[in-house]
Symmetry: C2
Subunit: 196 residues, 2 copies
Amino acid sequence: MRHKEGNKEKDIIEAAIKCFAKKGYHHSKIIDIAKIANVAVGSIYVYYNNKEDILIKIFNNLWERLYFKITNIEKNSRLTPVEKIDTMIEDIFDAFIENPNLAIVFVNEQQYLLKLSSTLSNNFHKKYLDVGEIFIKEGIQQNIFSSEINSNIFRIFILGAIRNLLRYWADTPVKISLAKIKENVTYLIRNGILKK
Amino acid sequence: MRHKEGNKEKDIIEAAIKCFAKKGYHHSKIIDIAKIANVAVGSIYVYYNNKEDILIKIFNNLWERLYFKITNIEKNSRLTPVEKIDTMIEDIFDAFIENPNLAIVFVNEQQYLLKLSSTLSNNFHKKYLDVGEIFIKEGIQQNIFSSEINSNIFRIFILGAIRNLLRYWADTPVKISLAKIKENVTYLIRNGILKK
DNA sequence: ATAAATTATGAATACTTATTCAAAAATAAT
DNA sequence: ATTATTTTTGAATAAGTATTCATAATTTAT
């Protein structure tokens, strides 16, 4: 049996991330992706059902990795709720440090994808959010977080804030360091803007 | 000279908002918009240069209105920096209360548009952000806000958070009231999650 | 009432682009 | 070396859809 030499499947998905980041999903043409990946147009359809399928797989990979990390945080009973949220935020930032293009695709196409991915069987994105909400509830139960906070609203609040910052950072990586952003986010979440 | 009876220009832009909200910009067809607006396909091209032009005008209208409001806040010297930010947040939420569809279009297409609108002459969006940043700097200068906060990061942080909450709210208006969301956002920005 | 000007129409056009598939190339098995 | 199997290819196909424009309808002016 013939054994594949290169890894076209991987080449294609990496090319797609580059292309989607640069032009956006809807403006990326299959032929663009093929050129970046150095394969023929037809080859893409050997490894993926269609264009949408590529995007779905990009996201599923990402959320699977993040879900793996958050379950590790959850298992670590020595961490306080504050530390859990800090670590969770750190993991999200870290996931994008190695791949700014992925960050851009994430912030731009995530919403479009939610409509499709909700039908997927292993929805790592949903699972991830559920664990995140548990952390907030723990903090409130343990009387560490203010009980005035609605955990659902907070979850959406914080993810939106991070997403927007990542987009900004990914677009202009020179202007400000991700470490600085991470620091500010952690501070703002803990203390808000008012001076103590 | 002939005088227009109805207002097709307005009908079209309102139909476009509905359609973009429901299907997304890229999946909305000109013929869809024409049907909703009760006009012929050709009429759309009488009032707008092309499909993109409609989207650009939707956003320009929105940011123009918000810019008008924020300049009024700026002029009101009796307000403290905290009150200014509170009012600013309130205005953003209010702008979408009357038109949930506009909120959906805003959160979904804003990013795609930034690439185009940056070339526009009256960029109300940019002007708006600049005034917002002034409020933060005032607060830090007057020693009311923590000086650990980077005003640029905060601006992006807070707008991202609001955008994400609006999207959530617009998608599921029954689950949670906008008033409740607004309340939580104000609280979080002031105090963070930690109990005092 | 007629002409002039304006506004509205939608079938036809032109263009883009995702997807297919028959054939070729590359590799493995005999 | 020959055959079988797998992988790759890209021109051709198919489908969709933004935009145009000649014509019609409507309103205003004379």
